[in-house]
């Protein structure tokens, strides 16, 4: 495994104004090559206007075993959703 290139996570901004979204992962020797690989693997069909890559080992993930305590308490708090407001038609991406 030591001979393998490190794993990178790829984030793509599909158009200006939207945030970067996780697209997938790939192997690359270093950051510049990761950008090039991401360009070739994930943006061949015009998917993006901007790329981020980050080495997977730098991502800290929440523990699935703790998901009950982390996420379930939010389930019955509907008042946290902005559904009680009337949104003007011009407001998008919410």
């Amino acid at each position: 495994m030591k001979k393998e290139w490190p794993l990178w996570e790829v984030f793509i901004r599909s158009k200006n104004g939207l945030s970067h979204k996780h697209a997938g992962s790939l192997h690359a020797a270093d950051a510049e090559m990761a950008i090039e690989n991401a360009r070739d693997v994930y943006t061949r069909r015009n998917e993006g206007v901007s790329l981020w890559v980050v080495e997977s080992r730098h991502i800290t993930a929440s523990n699935p075993a703790e998901s009950e305590s982390l996420f379930d308490p939010a389930m019955d708090k509907v008042y946290r959703h902005p559904t009680f407001y009337e949104l003007p038609d011009e407001v998008t991406h919410i």
Binding site: W5, L26, H27, A28, A29, D30, E32, M33, E36, N37, D40, V41, R44
Partner: protein, 252 residues
């Protein structure tokens, strides 16, 4: 040689460069050293095939003899192909492929940068569109030259061998043929003597950064642009053309 005839021949030569490169690189499809590079190198192969189509369509229309882009690709014989010898050299391994593409990409970049300003609008339009792709090709092959040249002892050695083997084919890129001289006097295509210093400077820069040794002065092979090819060319055409030769006009 009249102007129109020369432009048709030049467009064919440009298309031939692109088609032979595209065909060679597509041989990597499904065989790339890692998944990411398999996709990358075949993307680049498709860029070249796309450029081929632009040049052949332009040539066929200007020629006006009813030939199509397919006729030009599949029905011409080896001496009618005018690509440089460098591009028909086999892939061999990743090192040879990268070195071959790098030596070509540098030239191709400066050539297209110049052609983008050609007074012949058909040529300029194709060059402007292709230049974006070629800029990426050069970036891609340069990065690999540097990483493998300045990589492990084994990768450095493989890159040096590839560079030594392919260097004798690099001279033909900037050598003028009578056709290119004629077009240069008309201002339609560049004087390659003006591109040579730019070419040498860029090649030296990347070879230096890759910590490779530039091969010494050697006899430079040439003839591809005049239709005299190496033994590899026939095999490329045999594979590429066999279907249309057996079943002319066949459509997928």
């Amino acid at each position: 040689m009249d102007r129109k005839d020369a432009i048709v021949k030049y467009a064919l030569q440009m298309g031939d460069h692109a088609l032979v490169t595209g065909q060679r690189l597509s041989e990597w499809c499904g065989h790339g050293p890692v998944l990411e590079q398999d996709i990358a190198i075949t993307n680049i192969a498709l860029d070249h095939v796309g450029q081929t189509r632009s040049w052949y369509q332009f040539a066929a229309e200007l020629e006006g003899k009813g030939r199509t882009e397919d006729d030009l690709a599949y029905m011409r014989t080896e001496p009618e192909y005018r690509n440089v010898l460098l591009l028909e050299q086999p892939n061999t391994d990743w090192a040879h492929t990268i070195v071959r593409q790098f030596l070509y990409d540098v030239f191709n970049y400066y050539l297209h940068e110049n052609l983008a300003h050609s007074p012949e609008e058909g040529i300029a339009a194709i060059a402007r569109k292709s230049l974006k792709e070629i800029t990426y090709h050069l970036r891609y092959s340069s990065e690999w030259m540097i990483r493998l040249g300045d990589g492990t002892e084994l990768s450095r050695q493989k890159m040096q061998t590839a560079l030594d083997n392919l260097w004798m084919f690099s001279g033909e890129l900037t050598q003028m043929t009578p056709l290119e001289e004629f077009l240069a006097t008309l201002g339609i295509a560049p004087d390659l003597a003006a591109i040579k210093p730019l070419y040498d400077e860029k090649v030296d820069e990347i070879i230096g950064e890759a910590t490779l040794k530039k091969p010494g002065t050697t006899f430079m092979q040439s003839g591809g642009k005049l239709g005299r090819h190496t033994e590899y060319m026939g095999f490329i055409l045999a594979e590429m053309q066999s279907l249309q030769r057996q079943l002319p006009g066949l459509k997928w």
